[in-house]
C-alpha cells in the first residue's frame, strides 16, 4: 500500500500528531462491543507498517464513522476524514466497498438515482394538509424517507412521519417550502462507502434541480443530508451559494423570538444524539436546548457521562453485524433500566437501526421501546404561547 495519496492524508489529517494514548480505541463503540478493531492501531499501521495491507484494508471499513474517537482525541487527529478518504481510495483502486447490509439494495437505488433521465414518483405522501409552494425560494429536502418507507415496511418505522411533521412545523412558522418532485438522494451512503464518482454526480444533479427551481435556501431535517449538503456538497460544486438550514436550528431561533410554546409531556425520556449533528457538527447544545423546552419532560441520563449518547450501531448501511446489534441492544437495555418510557431520536437512521434491534427475535420483546423522532414530538406539542405559566415547568435533567 504505497499510494502517495496516503502520505498526503497522514499529513493533512494530522496522523503524525497521534500520541498513541489510545483514548480513541478506549471510547470506540465498535471496540467496546467486542470487535477486534482499533483506531489507534490503524493509525499506527498506516504510519509505520504500511506493508500490512490486509489489516489496513479491513480496518478502514470497520469504522462506524460516529466521530467518538475524533471527539476524544487530544491531538486533533481528523480520523473521520481519514476514514472517508481511505475508503474513497480503496474503492477506486481496489474495488473495495465494505460489507453492505441488505445486500446493498439501498446503495443500488441511490446509484440508480444518477440516471440523467430519472423521473421519480416520490411525492405521494404529500397530503393537502401540508402547505407547500412549488415556486418558493425555500425548499425542504426530503431525503430517502419515501424509499425507506417502502423498504423498511416490515419494521414498521414511519420515516415519512418525520418528513410530514417537519413540513407541519415549517407551516407553523409560516414557511411554505418547495418540495422538489425530482430531488435525488443526497449521496451520504455512497460517499461513506467510497463511491465518490456517483456521489458527485448526485451532488451536481441536485444542485442543478435546486437552481432550476429557483431555490436559495434549503431546510433539512435528516442529519446525514444536512451534513452532506452543508459540508460535502460545497466541496463538489464550485461557487456553491445555497443557504442550508437545519430545521431544529430554525425552530430554536423561533422559540427564542417568543410567541411559541410547547404543551407538556410528562414522560421520562432518553435522547439519542445523532452523530452527524453532534460529533461531526456542533449542534448538540441546540438539540438539547430544544428538547429542554418541552415542559414536564424528564430526560434521564444514562451511565456514560456527559459526552452524549454512543453510536446507534450502524452508518451508511455497511458493517451491520452481531457487534452492531450488541451496541443497539445495550443502548436499549440501558434506556430501559434508566426508566425511560420513550426514546427520542433526531435521525431517521438511528430510528431504523434501533427499531430493528428492538424487534430482534432473540430479545423476545424484552427491549421493545417506543421510539419517536424529536421533530414528531415537537410537531405534536407546538402551540401559540398564550401567556399562561400555570402548572408548567421546564424539562429537567436527571442524573
Amino acid at each position: 500500500m504505497n499510494d502517495p495519496q496516503i502520505d498526503r492524508m497522514i499529513v493533512e489529517m494530522s496522523l503524525y500528531q497521534c500520541l498513541e494514548c489510545g483514548k480513541c480505541t478506549a471510547s470506540c463503540p465498535r471496540r467496546l462491543s467486542g470487535k477486534e478493531y482499533s483506531p489507534r492501531l490503524l493509525a499506527h499501521k498506516v504510519i509505520a507498517e504500511r506493508e500490512d495491507n490486509a489489516y489496513i484494508e479491513n480496518a478502514v471499513w470497520e469504522c462506524l464513522t460516529c466521530g467518538m474517537c475524533r471527539e476524544r482525541c487530544p491531538s486533533g487527529v481528523e480520523f473521520n476524514r481519514f476514514i472517508l478518504e481511505m475508503r474513497t481510495l480503496l474503492a477506486k483502486t481496489k474495488g473495495l466497498k465494505g460489507y453492505r447490509a441488505h445486500d446493498g439494495a439501498l446503495h443500488s437505488w441511490m446509484r440508480m438515482m444518477t440516471a440523467p433521465g430519472l423521473v421519480q414518483n416520490r411525492l405521494a405522501w404529500l397530503g393537502e394538509e401540508l402547505q407547500t409552494d412549488p415556486a418558493g425560494e425555500v425548499a425542504f429536502f426530503t431525503g430517502c424517507a419515501p424509499y425507506f418507507d417502502v423498504f423498511f415496511a416490515g419494521l414498521q418505522v414511519d420515516t415519512l412521519a418525520i418528513v410530514r411533521d417537519s413540513i407541519r412545523l415549517l407551516n407553523f412558522m409560516d414557511i411554505k417550502p418547495a418540495v422538489l418532485p425530482n430531488e435525488r438522494c443526497c449521496g451520504h451512503d455512497l460517499l461513506w462507502t467510497g463511491d465518490r464518482e456517483n456521489f458527485e454526480a448526485l451532488c451536481r444533479m441536485n444542485y442543478r434541480s435546486f437552481k432550476d427551481a429557483g431555490v436559495r435556501q434549503l431546510v433539512v431535517t435528516c442529519p446525514e443530508c444536512y451534513n452532506v449538503l452543508s459540508e460535502h456538497m460545497p466541496e463538489v460544486i464550485p461557487g456553491f451559494d445555497l443557504e442550508v438550514h437545519l430545521l431544529h436550528d430554525l425552530l430554536l431561533q423561533e422559540f427564542h423570538k417568543g410567541g411559541l410554546a410547547l404543551r407538556p409531556l410528562r414522560k421520562q425520556v432518553v435522547f439519542q444524539d445523532p452523530c452527524r449533528l453532534t460529533r461531526l457538527s456542533a449542534h448538540r447544545r441546540n438539540l438539547r436546548e430544544l428538547l429542554g423546552l418541552i415542559p414536564q419532560l424528564t430526560i434521564v441520563k444514562e451511565g456514560n457521562g456527559s459526552a452524549g449518547s454512543p453510536c446507534c450501531g450502524n452508518c451508511g448501511f455497511i458493517n451491520c453485524d452481531a457487534y452492531s446489534k450488541q451496541i443497539q441492544v445495550q443502548r436499549l437495555r440501558e434506556a430501559q433500566s434508566a426508566g425511560a418510557e420513550l426514546l427520542i431520536t433526531a435521525c431517521p437512521k438511528c430510528m431504523i437501526h434501533l427499531t430493528c434491534a428492538a424487534r430482534d427475535p432473540l430479545q423476545q420483546g424484552k427491549i421493545k421501546t417506543v421510539i419517536r423522532d424529536l421533530v414528531s414530538v415537537l410537531a405534536e406539542r407546538i402551540e401559540w404561547y398564550s401567556g399562561e405559566e400555570t402548572g408548567k415547568r421546564k424539562a429537567r435533567w436527571k442524573k
Partner: protein, 143 residues
C-alpha cells in the same frame, strides 16, 4: 429490440427443466434474453432484483416453481414478497412496475414458458428502454 436488455432469473428445478426442454426441441427464444440459473427463487433478494435494473436491464422476469412444487419450502412465496416490494421501489424511481415480471411453472410446461418469454419480450419492447436518456452508472461497469 436489439438494444433492449431482457434478463431472466430462473429456478433450477421446474422452470429450468422447461427451459432446457424447450432448448432441446429447438424452439426459438427472444433475442437479447440473458438467463441466470439459481437453485431457488427464494435465494434472490430485493437487492439482486434492484441491481439487475441498476446494471441496465430493461425488463426482469423471475421464473419460479409453483408454490406447492418448491423443493425447499417457501421459495416462491419469498419471490412474491420481493417482487411486491421491489415494484414499489421501482415505482418511486419512475421505472414502470410492469418491467418486473414473475411467473410460475410446472416441470412439464416448456411451451408455456417459451410463450411467456415471448410475451414478456413483446411487452418490454412496447415500453422501450428504461429512462430514455441513458442508464445510471452501475458499480459493476468499468468507467
Amino acid at each position: 429490440m436489439a438494444d433492449l436488455r431482457l434478463f431472466g432469473i430462473c429456478c433450477n428445478w421446474s422452470p429450468f427443466a422447461c427451459y432446457n426442454a424447450a432448448g432441446m426441441q429447438g424452439i426459438s427464444m427472444p433475442e437479447n434474453f440473458r438467463l441466470v440459473r439459481v437453485m431457488c427463487i427464494g435465494r434472490i433478494n430485493q437487492a439482486l432484483i434492484l441491481r439487475s435494473f441498476e446494471f441496465g436491464a430493461d425488463g426482469v422476469i423471475l421464473l419460479e416453481c409453483t408454490d406447492e412444487d418448491c423443493r425447499y419450502g417457501p421459495g416462491p412465496e419469498v419471490g412474491h414478497e420481493n417482487v411486491h416490494r421491489v415494484r414499489k421501489l421501482l415505482h418511486l424511481l419512475g421505472i414502470r412496475q410492469e418491467r418486473l415480471v414473475e411467473c410460475t411453472f410446472g416441470a412439464h410446461e416448456a411451451e408455456q414458458l417459451v410463450r411467456t418469454l415471448w410475451s414478456f419480450a413483446a411487452d418490454i419492447e412496447a415500453m422501450g428502454p428504461v429512462g430514455g436518456s441513458g442508464m445510471p452508472r452501475g458499480e459493476g461497469r468499468e468507467p
